[in-house]
């Protein structure tokens, strides 16, 4: 992924915290989804068992990925799908552009696909002279605004309805009546996008799950644009990460059982599409040709390592919704297509520490993500593993490593520790008997928001030693 935000992570985070519009939007969205998730999982008697089962299915699939990928390729090909593999983003975009060119494609309609954003596909297609229209309502607005989505599931959570109305007025010449309220705006967009579906030569989609036993592509959505993009144009190209497989149809049902519930609190999304090849002889509609591009682009970097577990992810968005850090900084701050807790592991795991070392640091390790994850991924464990990599690789500020090494040298020598303790207590009580409102150097971050309390006159253990010594004297 070549897209790296121009500003460092922390600067973007600070901007996000200071943005009142974004803060309101985040509160509104994540709060509702957290409540909905708990209700939806609780609503099915087997909710917790379903999560355990979903995890086991994904773990088994990833552990045996070779077998299931081979089966998927074989079955999809037998069903008439053209199956391709792309090792990286450039290979993937090249493949799609080539397919489009070969078919003399001019107009493309696109459903939501994180992989397409990851490889920056729109950019490549537009560069080849094709017109690409995002058809998911939120993505459509993002495209018109030349903005970036801020949440996996709710891409324009950071926009108010007034901002959307303004976008429609400016880019689509909507009248006041067209954008009078949210229902009107939606109807207006429906009309505009309907024309796009009718005229498109090619539809692009993501894949929520590939089903190995039948070579099927499963796509879930609420609006209907996914169905339209994969039915109306004569050519359908699907983008799928190599890890997005389940072995059988029954396994698909298990994954779907927890997917929508965990992300938005729905029992199932409105449409669960399963595509097994192009239109068959005698079929009244459907695309004449279906392609699936299996994308690696860093996923295999994590296979068979301590980060492999992040590949179990089913992209529900629950971890974003419960994360108290995401709640404050939103998605843009991460600077990556993959945001929040999953993004903080996935991004450096797939694309390397270099520009992404900050992401695993942006966590208090509270564990809410692990608790919410429908496939019980231990994200905190992997954040710690990445922090160790960052530390060993020199990606962390010097003062942390040096400070901890010095602390460790003292903390493994009890007498030295006790001496240092006494010095620290005396010094601190002398300089700040009621605590500190300003600390120097790297510790200044504490006092920016908090009073620093006074240290004790004497530690508990020192007092104990003193009293024990007194008792020992006859």
């Amino acid at each position: 992924m070549t897209q790296i935000a121009p500003l460092p992570f922390y600067t973007r985070a600070q901007q996000a915290i200071a943005d009142p519009n974004l803060q309101t939007a985040l509160d509104r969205a994540t709060g509702r989804m957290v409540v909905a998730r708990k209700q939806a999982i609780a609503a099915i008697a087997d909710g917790e068992a379903a999560r355990d089962h979903a995890r086991a299915v994904r773990a088994h699939t990833i552990a045996n990925l070779g077998q299931y990928l081979d089966q998927f390729v074989e079955q999809a090909t037998a069903a008439g799908v053209h199956v391709h593999f792309a090792a990286d983003a450039d290979a993937a975009t090249q493949l799609v552009v080539d397919i489009a060119r070969r078919h003399e494609v001019r107009r493309i309609v696109k459903g939501k696909s994180m992989v397409s954003e990851e490889i920056e596909l729109n950019h490549a297609l537009e560069g080849a002279g094709m017109r690409v229209v995002e058809t998911d309502l939120g993505e459509y607005v993002i495209q018109l605004d030349k903005d970036v989505p801020s949440h996996i599931i709710a891409p324009i959570i950071h926009k108010t309805k007034e901002q959307v109305a303004e976008t429609f007025r400016r880019e689509l010449h909507a009248t006041d009546a067209d954008v009078a309220d949210i229902a009107q705006m939606t109807a207006f967009a429906r009309g505009r996008l309907r024309a796009e579906f009718l005229a498109a030569d090619m539809g692009i989609s993501g894949v929520n799950f590939g089903v190995a036993e039948s070579g099927s592509l499963c796509l879930v959505e609420n609006e209907g644009n996914g169905r339209l993009s994969t039915t109306m144009p004569r050519l359908h190209v699907a983008l799928m990460g190599i890890e997005r497989l389940v072995p059988t149809a029954a396994d698909l049902a298990v994954a779907l059982r927890v997917l929508a519930r965990s992300g938005t609190g729905q029992a199932l999304t409105v449409y669960t599409n399963v595509i097994t090849g192009p239109r068959r002889p005698g079929d009244p509609d459907g695309p004449s040709e279906v392609h699936v591009v299996l994308v690696d682009n860093g996923r295999s970097q994590m296979l068979r390592t301590e980060l492999e577990e992040i590949l179990y992810c089913i992209r529900c968005g629950a971890c974003l919704n419960v994360c108290p850090v995401y709640q404050e900084i939103g998605g843009h701050a991460y600077g990556s297509v993959y945001q929040g807790p999953v993004g903080a592991v996935y991004t450096p795991g797939a694309f390397g520490m270099g520009p992404w070392a900050d992401l695993p640091q942006a966590s208090s390790l509270c564990g809410a993500c692990k608790e919410a994850c429908p496939v019980r991924i231990d994200i905190p464990r992997m954040l710690l593993a990445l922090r160790a990599r960052a530390e060993e690789g020199g990606h962390t500020p010097r003062w942390v490593g040096r400070g901890l090494r010095a602390f460790r040298l003292v903390a493994t020598r009890p007498r030295l520790f006790r001496w240092a303790s006494t010095v620290a207590l005396r010094l601190s009580r002398w300089l700040g008997p009621t605590g500190f409102d300003r600390l120097p150097g790297p510790l200044a971050g504490w006092t920016r928001y908090r009073h620093f309390p006074p240290m004790a006159r004497e530690t508990f253990t020192a007092r104990r030693r003193r009293l024990d010594r007194r008792q020992e004297r006859p």
């Binding site: 900084i329 390790l365 922090r387 160790a388 060993e392 460790r408 009890p414 504490w446 908090r450 030693r465």
Partner: protein, 253 residues
């Protein structure tokens, strides 16, 4: 999430207190209160010498060699005595019970030693409720209390019902709900100084909820989180106190 397989067979008569570096240096009276409460329950409380730090800050910062060195030091000083270990901190308990064994899993000399210590290490309220079967500790605290669930204790060790039960049985005090009481306060160890603006934003949210609760005291199981929340409330001029649960049960004003 409480792991009941860790409860010992018989009722212990003696426990070792791992004070923790923050309690030792910033809140020694909290440790005194812990001792008082446990002695009231008929336990002998010993304080093994040479305690320094369990290594959690190093572990969380990814400084594995440093974390391992401090964890080994702590394990060695605790394993000399067979008595169960009590820790007045959910996060330090999580370090000894989960993180240290994970860090030492590939070290043949230390893996079993880490697991052995982990198997008999308990957070303070866990010891009272799960091990000793005590849900009511006599104390004359009054006023309004609200409980904040510190994250490592809650999700790492399974501490939730235990402190709530103990607080519910404080006869003179009223327990009020704290909105979003299982949402992180924003301390996160070094996170608080490495990413202070994010930590500060999380703290701000927590302080608003604390004010909304109407409680005069917030009760926690971790002095670290208490310092962070109290520090923020102090800076904002709000009169709410944040206290470790031992201070409530041990009759500290």
């Amino acid at each position: 999430m409480s792991d009941s397989s860790r409860v010992p067979a018989g009722r212990p008569t003696r426990v070792q207190l791992l004070v923790t570096c923050l309690v030792d240096h910033f809140a020694p009276d909290t440790a005194e209160a812990v001792v008082r409460v446990l002695q009231q329950q008929g336990l002998e409380v010993v304080v093994p010498p040479d305690q320094t730090c369990c290594g959690q800050p190093a572990c969380n910062a990814g400084a594995r060699p440093d974390a391992i060195a401090m964890a080994k030091h702590t394990i060695a000083l605790l394993e000399r005595d067979p008595a169960p270990i009590v820790v007045p901190s959910g996060s330090c308990t999580d370090m000894l019970v989960h993180q240290a064994p994970a860090l030492l899993a590939d070290d043949p000399a230390w893996a079993a030693r880490a697991s052995a210590v982990a198997a008999r290490t308990y957070e303070f309220t866990q010891l009272l409720v799960d091990v000793l079967g005590v849900t009511s500790v006599p104390c004359d605290r009054t006023g309004t209390l609200a409980y904040h669930a510190c994250c490592h204790g809650l999700r790492g060790v399974g501490i939730d019902a235990q402190p709530r039960q103990l607080l519910a049985h404080v006869p003179g005090a009223t327990v009020l709900p704290l909105p979003e009481d299982d949402t992180c306060c924003g301390f996160g160890g070094l996170f608080a100084v490495k990413l202070p603006d994010i930590s500060g934003a999380m703290l701000d949210r927590k302080c608003r909820q604390i004010t909304a609760s109407g409680a005069d005291t917030i009760v926690v199981t971790d002095v670290s989180c208490a310092m962070h929340m109290q520090g923020g409330l102090h800076r904002q001029g709000r009169p709410v106190r944040v206290q470790h649960i031992a201070e409530i049960l041990g009759g500290m004003a």
